[in-house]
Amino acid sequence: MSDKILVSTRKGLFHVARKSGAWGIDHVDFLGDNVSLTLSDPRSGKSYAALDHGHFGVKLHRSTDAGWEEIAAPVYPKKPEGLEEKDMWGRELQWSTARIWSFAAGGADEPGVIWCGTQPGGLFRSTNHGDSWEIIGALWHHPLRGKWMGGGADLPGLHSICVDPRDSKHVTIAVSTGGVWFTGDGGESWSQRGEGMRADHWPPEQMHDPIAQDVHCLVQCLGAPQRFWIQHHNGIFVSSDGARNFTEITGVAPSVFGFPVVVHPREPDTAWFVPEIKDEKRIPRDGELVVNRTRDGGRTFQTLTKGLPQSHAYDVVYRHALALDAGGERLAFGSTTGGLWVSETQGDSWTCVSHTLPPVYAVRFV
């Protein structure tokens, strides 16, 4: 079980630790700076922190024995002279890292490999622990990539990267919006997956098109890698065939809308969600902050409330702000209104670590 959590916020990286049985803020790095995401690589023991300095761009830092060092950030290739590429608003699409929006460690057989997803949709890979990065050209230059669009953000965001524990060259990613994509050869070629999802904000002709899907978060069960869960703009979807086909889970109270999902590392039928009123409001229903858990593959859900605010709570939990530890016992999540909660009982009860943090973008166990 993990005793440490990295909490990425609008105003710094908060190190949260369990000491003498109680969770608290241990210290803060990059105080005042916008930290969008972290990765803790269990193979090397290194952590990575993505910072967005606004005027000065997106930067990447790697932990050292003495603190942090700035390392190379992913850089897009030179845009071909004369190429005109517009975003969904008709503006010139900038080939430039606007945000680091996903990380994944490579497989055990690829010790230096780290994957990094970005806005406006580029996927990058480092083979040397982040010393340098290369864009995955086969995906960036894929003829269908031009159909990706912003979902919530102005630019397409590659937010989920799942490296198959059985084969490190099998990688499944998800894009908001652009659906689910798969490579079976380490990124040399890509194909669309994700049949069965439904985008009801589109006309009937596009509603079921896999590339039109606004996947909010995609996760893969490490112990049963054929099982994927998706929190989608239109609800909850589950796949039992390696993300080829998804089935919609309906009738979940208080809502099927949300951003994050986590799946138990050994129990593919067990997953957690943070439901909210759909996109017309994006707040917890009736001001009650809850976590939903299924233990039977989505047939039934328990709505978990113990220790969570049940009156006038307006916390939104972003897609990277719900975390499950490697043991599958401890959960943590942070909110846009600065709340941070931890559960040591798979969500049965929660403890508030703070309700005065800056807006929380991401929560990760170390």
Binding site: H53, G54, H55, F56, A73, Y76, K79, Q94, W95, S96
Partner: protein, 89 residues
């Protein structure tokens, strides 16, 4: 040589001391500055080598026109200021 000065706000992230550099355009001057101070480059220029969206550069008191190629001329005794705009924070 042109004199080059950077916004104080950038110094918190990366050291950019005032310096002098040769060049007849903003691009040439900055490339010479970044050759001596490589970490500073990505704080000022984007992935395509253009000026970052919310940055601005003044040459002898005038904002540059060419934010993409940085082709605005620079004189032998010019003074260049690299600033951040107030937008986009």
């Amino acid at each position: 040589m042109a004199s080059v000065n950077f916004t104080p706000n950038i110094q918190r992230h990366v050291a950019c001391p005032a310096t002098q550099a040769r060049g007849s355009t903003v691009r040439e001057v900055l490339e010479n500055v970044f050759a001596e101070n490589p970490p500073a480059r990505s704080y000022v220029l984007d992935d395509q080598g253009g000026l970052r969206k919310h940055m601005t550069i003044f040459v002898d008191g005038r904002a540059i026109n060419d934010r993409t190629r940085l082709s605005d001329p620079v004189g032998l005794a010019s003074t260049i200021y690299v600033f951040q705009a107030l937008s986009g924070g």
